[in-house]
């Protein structure tokens, strides 16, 4: 393995790691989402069950942003 190829490989790994940092945002978002749901659910337990579908929808939409980062990271690792 010559130096240029080794460099490319190294930068690829670093890039994949950097791309995966996008998942930080999704983590924060999910924390905010479930935290706020729990807070609201404790204040008004009667209304909690009716909003569960919306909770999971919000979770799915938030999570997608993190998954974009994950997929980009995988693309860098295995696709390029």
């Amino acid at each position: 393995m010559n130096a240029a190829v080794a460099d490319f490989h190294t930068y690829k790994l670093i890039g994949a790691g950097l791309a995966a940092m996008g998942m930080i945002g999704a983590g924060i978002g999910l924390g905010v989402l479930f935290g706020n749901y729990l807070q609201a659910a404790i204040r008004n337990p009667a209304g909690a069950a009716s909003q569960q579908t919306m909770l999971f929808l919000g979770m799915a939409l938030t999570e997608t942003m993190g998954l974009f980062a994950f997929v980009v990271s995988l693309l860098i690792l295995f696709g390029v």
């Binding site: 009716s50 579908t53 999971f56 929808l57 799915a60 999570e63 998954l67 997929v71």
Partner: protein, 275 residues
């Protein structure tokens, strides 16, 4: 580069042929009808679904266990998703959402519950939903049938979906572009969500599984290395928990896919008097 055997967490997603069949030529197209592990898993999933409903679908007023399970699966789509989100106009679309929900649920659960059979060489528990081709097909089918249904039901008026009122001519024109992008990215997100969740979960499980084996083998070499039994046992504990988490994710992602399909349908069915 070290000389250790590399951990191959992506190996489980390789498609290979289980039954070789001769290539069929239709017109200029060469079609390979060989049954791969992906196809085999889908066939097994379909058989499980059909057998389940053939065995449990009854008309008893007091249901037995199987009928209760079948009915509650139906009620998830009918009374939790379509009923509250779309309302009365949603009844005709329950079968499609139900089919979508059930096939994703069965394929997701199979890839976790039967995962052990993959090690034994029986490839019917391949993680079908961690292939972008499959989730992409499901997402594109769902999205475009909803989009075309909008035109069938409302005609060209349906295009006003992209028009945000109260923005003026130029603001509205700018919003049309943004609305169109956010609308047509939907099948991409729909496909990527299921794909990413299943792929990520299986990679993590496979990684921790290989930790158990690799550290266990290292510990067997004796001496100080015996200490490696501790992280090996920790990884094993973790993988038990992760399997439980994967089961939750498998059910949740099937639910989320069906829920988002319902939300997209809602925009079409209740077009004009929702927002």
């Amino acid at each position: 580069m070290t000389q250790q055997p590399a951990i191959q967490p992506m190996e489980q997603f390789l498609i290979h042929k289980v039954v070789e069949l001769p290539t069929v030529h239709i017109g200029g197209l060469a079609i390979d009808p060989s049954i791969t592990n992906s196809v085999l898993s889908m066939i097994v999933g379909a058989i499980i679904l059909i057998a389940f409903f053939a065995l449990t679908a009854r008309r008893e007023i007091v249901p037995n266990r199987g009928q209760a399970l079948a009915e509650s699966l139906y009620n998830i789509v009918d009374r939790v998703l379509v009923g509250p989100i779309i309302g009365h106009g949603g009844k005709p679309y329950v079968p499609y959402i139900l089919a979508l929900f059930l096939i994703i649920l069965v394929l997701n659960l199979m890839s976790v519950v039967f995962a052990i059979f993959n090690l034994a060489g029986m490839d019917f528990a391949f993680a079908v939903t961690s292939q972008l081709a499959i989730t992409g097909t499901l997402a594109v089918l769902t999205f475009f049938s909803v989009f075309i249904l909008g035109f069938i039901k409302h005609g060209p008026k349906f295009l006003s979906l992209f028009w945000v009122p109260g923005m003026g001519i130029f603001g509205g024109a700018a919003m049309v572009v943004i609305e169109m992008i956010s609308y047509f990215v939907r099948p991409v997100t729909l496909a990527l969500r299921l794909f990413g969740n299943m792929l990520g979960g299986h990679v993590v499980m496979s990684l921790f599984g290989s930790f158990v084996v690799a550290l266990g083998i290292l510990a067997l070499s004796g001496g100080v290395a015996t200490l490696a039994f501790v992280p090996s046992a920790l990884s094993f504990t973790l993988i038990v928990g992760l399997t439980g988490l994967e089961l939750v994710v498998a059910i949740l992602q099937a639910f989320v896919f069906a829920a988002l399909a319902t939300v997209y349908l809602n925009e079409v069915v209740n077009f004009g008097h929702g927002h």
